[in-house]
C-alpha cells in the first residue's frame, strides 16, 4: 500500500484538477447557452429556406440549372466536414470522423474541412484535403461561409465532382448530439413535377435559380455550423460534468485509502509500544 504521504499528495493533485475541470464546465455552460440560443433563432429561417428550395426543385426540370444535374464525367465526390477546433468534448468528434470515413469508403473522395480536429484526423489517415477552414467557431459570422460555398459551387460547376456531401453534428439536445451526413449538391428532384405551369417565378427562372441556390447552400452550411457549435459546447459541458463527478469519486476513494493507511500506522505503533512495554515489565 502507498504511504500516507503519497496518498495525500495524490488527493491534492486530483482536487486541483477538479477545480480546473469545474471552471471549464462553467465556461462551457455559458458558451453552450449562447450557441443554443443562436442556433434556435436561426433554425426557423433555415427551415423556411429549405422548404422554399424543396418547392422550387420539384417545380423545375433537371436541365434548368447545372446544380440540379449530377456531374456525369466526374469521378470524385467532395465531403464538407465540420468538426470542432478543440477537443475535450467526449466522443463528439470521433463519431463525426467515423461517419465521414464511412462516406468515403471505396469512393474517390476529397475533403473540405471546417475545424481542426477533423482535419488532423483525416490528414493522419492520408486523405486528400482540398481546403481547410479553422478558427471559425469562436465567433461565427455569415461571411465566413462565403469562401466555402464559393469553392463548392465553383468545383461542382466545373465538373470536378459528381456529388457534394456534408457531415456535421446535429444538436438534438444538451444530452444528445448526432453526426449527420446529407447531400448538398446536386439538388434532388425525386418527386414528380406536378404544377410546373402554375408557379410564378419573379424574376425569370434562370436568374432566380442562379441567385437562390448558392444562397440557400450558404444558409444550409451556416445552419450546420451553428448546430455543430451548439453540439460541441454541450458535449464539452457533459464531458466536464462527468469528469468532475469522477474526480469527486476518486477523491473519496483516495481519502478512504488515506484514512486506512493512517489507521494502520497508528495501530501498528500502538502494538509496537504495548509490545515494548510488555517486554520491559517482564
Amino acid at each position: 500500500m502507498a504511504s500516507a504521504k503519497e496518498v495525500r499528495r495524490r488527493i491534492k493533485s486530483v482536487s486541483n484538477t477538479k477545480q480546473i475541470i469545474k471552471a471549464m464546465e462553467l465556461i462551457s455552460v455559458i458558451k453552450m447557452q449562447k450557441a443554443i440560443a443562436i442556433n434556435a433563432r436561426s433554425r426557423n429561417y433555415s427551415k423556411a429556406a429549405e422548404d422554399i428550395l424543396k418547392n422550387l426543385v420539384i417545380n423545375v426540370s433537371e436541365t434548368d440549372h447545372p446544380f440540379l444535374l449530377p456531374g456525369i464525367n466526374a469521378k470524385k465526390q467532395l465531403v464538407v466536414f465540420i468538426t470542432s477546433d478543440r477537443g475535450l468534448c467526449g466522443g463528439l468528434n470521433s463519431k463525426a470522423i467515423r461517419k465521414a470515413i464511412d462516406l468515403s469508403k471505396d469512393k474517390d473522395t476529397d475533403f473540405l474541412t471546417i475545424g481542426r480536429k477533423g482535419r488532423d484526423a483525416l490528414r493522419a489517415l492520408g486523405k486528400n484535403i482540398i481546403a481547410d477552414f479553422t478558427k471559425i467557431e469562436e465567433k461565427p459570422k455569415f461571411k465566413d461561409i462565403l469562401p466555402i460555398s464559393k469553392i463548392i459551387t465553383d468545383d461542382f460547376t466545373s465538373g470536378k465532382y459528381y456529388e457534394i456531401k456534408l457531415v456535421y453534428t446535429h444538436f438534438v439536445s444538451t444530452l444528445s448530439q448526432e453526426p449527420i451526413a446529407t447531400k448538398l449538391l446536386p439538388l434532388e428532384n425525386k418527386e414528380k413535377v406536378l404544377n410546373q405551369e402554375r408557379i410564378v417565378f419573379e424574376p425569370e427562372k434562370d436568374i432566380l435559380l442562379d441567385d437562390l441556390i448558392p444562397r440557400f447552400l450558404e444558409i444550409k452550411i451556416w445552419q450546420s455550423m451553428l448546430e455543430s457549435i451548439a453540439s460541441e459546447h454541450s458535449a464539452r459541458m457533459m464531458a466536464m460534468k462527468n469528469a468532475s463527478e469522477n474526480a469527486l469519486e476518486l477523491i473519496d476513494d483516495l481519502t478512504l485509502s488515506y484514512n486506512q493507511t493512517r489507521q494502520a500506522t497508528i495501530t501498528r505503533e500502538i502494538a509496537e509500544i504495548s509490545a515494548g512495554k510488555m517486554t520491559l515489565e517482564e
Partner: protein, 144 residues
Amino acid sequence: MKKFKIQVTTPERVIFEEEVEEIILPTASGEITVLAGHVPLIGEIIPGEMIVKNGKEEKITLLLGGFVHVEEGGKVIVLADGAEHLHEISEKEAAEARKRAERLMMAAEDDAEGFAKAEAELARSLARLKLVRKHRSHKNIRID
C-alpha cells in the same frame, strides 16, 4: 377583406408572424402586391420597403434583400437577409452608411467581386435612406 398568414423571418429573429390582408414587396422588376388567394410564387426581394396592410393600418419594414415564397395554400413566407423597423433607422447613420458604400465602390472598381459587394451595400443603404426620408413626416402610420 380576406386574410392570409405571413411570416417574415431573418437569420436573427422572426420579425413577425400574423394574419394580414395585403402585403407589398419590393422586387427587381417593381413592387408586387400579394392578396389572399395569390398564385404560388417564388421571388427575389431587393432592398426596399415592405408594406403590410390590415384595414387602414399600415406597417412598414425595411427589407435588405431576400426571397419570398407564396405557398399553394396561400401562406406567405418572407426570408429576409435582414430587416429593420422604421424606428430603428436613424437618418444620420443611413446617410453615413451610404457614403461609406460609395467610397467602397470607388475603391473596388477594378475587382469585380468587391464591386458587386459594394454595390449591394450601396443599394441597402440607399433603401434605408429613402425609407426614412419618406416616412419621417407621416404621423398616422403605426411605426413598428
